[in-house]
Symmetry: C2
Subunit: 339 residues, 2 copies
């Protein structure tokens, strides 16, 4: 089978690609070709795989060519992120709505030319939820909570959920939208997103670097690990239409965790000296943004697909440490960990 991952050069996209290549099959079929599109080229290990081809540049510049190229499956992860969309309204519309529409229309062109509808997993986000004065946000958002997005990013994700549903209803794709939770621990550097500290307060202390937590220890948030997130995307792809149930987006599993729980887990797993590298210094701007986010999420439909959240945050930290230990720069990323 021939697969496409948009955003295939990014952190999650590359990780999904690695997992798929290691499995070798998806939904009962061998993976013969894996096309990765992104604005930057994918990591070298992916390019070294004979099944992989990379196409570098904006997705919107690539969709015309896709109209004559059949795919069996698509993971559509490419997206401008929250901060980018707030800073540049047109960029957000173009990168998130126009690109998705053009991708879906390319897949539709293949069906109109007599091809089979591609199976499509769209990565939506818990960011579709937000408090509107007319609709109080429940503390735990469920699959069927009314989304009232409070950012352009969340608005775009919700709009694309409904495009995916309607193209599916018409038989142009076999689409499924899955809402990703905040992924932690992300490797690399702080990225300026308001949610960046959810990874930073674990990643930096493990690297021996001081970290500042900009919100109260009592703040709760729905998170998931990179591994579980990738597993979720794959399970949603492999689900039958009946098992997915309907065409409405579902929540991927969330561990609803307080900052205090995260730091206690860090002390347990890595020791009190590592935990002591995190100090609290309230940032009103970030605290106000985070106060608008749901404090937790439930995922009943994902549970029916066999997807469950981590039992506790310590599992997520241990997974991150194991990932780092396998990477060539472990002496840096785990510099703060007494071993």
């Amino acid at each position: 089978m021939k697969l496409l991952i948009t955003g295939g050069g990014g952190f999650l996209g590359a990780r999904l690609a690695r997992t798929l290549l290691a499995r070798g099959h998806l939904a009962g079929r061998d993976i013969a070709q894996l096309v990765l599109t992104d604005i930057a080229p994918p990591p070298a290990d992916l390019l070294a795989d004979a099944r992989v081809s990379a196409r570098t540049g904006p997705l919107l510049a690539q969709t015309d060519a896709l109209r004559d190229e059949p795919f069996d499956g698509v993971f559509h992860l490419a997206s401008a992120v929250s901060g980018e969309c707030e800073a540049d309204f047109d960029l957000g519309l173009r990168s998130n709505i126009d690109s998705t529409r053009a991708l879906l229309d390319a897949l539709r062109a293949n069906v109109n030319a007599g091809g089979k509808a591609a199976r499509v997993v769209f990565s939506s986000s818990v960011a579709v939820f937000g408090p509107d004065p007319a609709v109080p946000l429940p503390s735990i958002v469920a699959d069927d909570t009314l989304p009232t997005p409070q950012t352009s990013y969340g608005t775009h994700k919700l709009i694309c959920e409904h495009l995916v549903a309607d193209y599916t209803r018409k038989g142009y794709i076999d689409g499924r939208a899955a809402r990703l939770m905040t992924v932690t621990v992300r490797p690399g550097k702080p990225n300026g997103a308001a949610s960046s500290f959810f990874s930073g307060i674990i990643r930096e202390p493990l690297a021996g670097v001081e970290s500042v937590c900009p919100v109260d220890a009592s703040v709760s948030h729905p998170v998931s690990s990179p591994t579980r997130t990738v597993e979720g995307l794959i399970a949603v792809f492999e689900a039958s239409r009946e098992a997915f149930v309907g065409r409405t987006a579902l929540n991927l599993p969330a561990l609803n965790v307080r900052v205090s729980d995260m730091l206690q887990a860090l002390a347990e797993v890595a020791g009190p000296a590592v935990r002591a590298r995190v100090r609290f210094e309230r940032d009103e701007r970030i605290a106000r943004i985070v106060a608008n986010w749901p404090s937790g999420a439930s995922a009943a439909r994902a549970a029916h697909l066999g997807l469950l959240p981590h039992a506790g945050y310590a599992e997520i930290i241990r997974q991150y440490i194991a990932d780092c230990a396998q990477a060539p720069n472990a002496d840096q990323t785990l510099k703060g960990l007494a071993r």
Copy 2:
């Protein structure tokens, strides 16, 4: 003030225009100019008013020019209807999503050039609601019921609700989305829409013509009169932002009425001979479509704006008869009414 009505040549748009011109003011300001856009020209009585100018052609062909033309207020009613969107997927996307986006971007261009944000009322629809296997539809849909549209038309309306909310959040417009209920009694001819009979079973018997009801008498549906619908659009325009509450769409008031109630009201108002011109002949295709529609709607937020549904369907029939009696073709439209 200078106003724009898109879809200003249509039944509701022209009626809204007449009401606004007769009032002469809106939100405390005199109406100096009223621009009507539509694919067909507006009725002659509107063109005869010195305040009115008409622009004929697709909205999408007109939005570039609007980027340099400030408006104080916009009623955005233009839309491809349900049947058109199902028959021509591209037409629906273009007429409903692309045109709305281009209109909003034209208004944004005015703000970016230093102008004041236009107040915008977007006419959404009860068609945003539908039953998805993952989310059972309540029998009465409320302002905050989760929309899971089951038509392209409903999908487009929902997407535009969220575009209007996000452009409002950013200060590019002062937007409000109001969901219209099924408008009855529509004058004119049956239009092939699945909901057409909700007007036809009243309009045809009053004109002395036999009418077929394609669904069971027990079918219930949220309806409103043309007058109350226009009043609702105006009240939503005039509401303060605080009174509108938030940026989420609201339902306009609905009379939740069974077909049997409608026909009983017809007998009361017009006599049993008129009622006897309606016979039941089930049409499976229409019955299946109607079974997917909500059987009623509530409108708590509209009630806070002072908007209430009719007390009963007889009021709606009497209003239709009064409207017809004033029109030049009353001898045709009320031919069946013994007077």
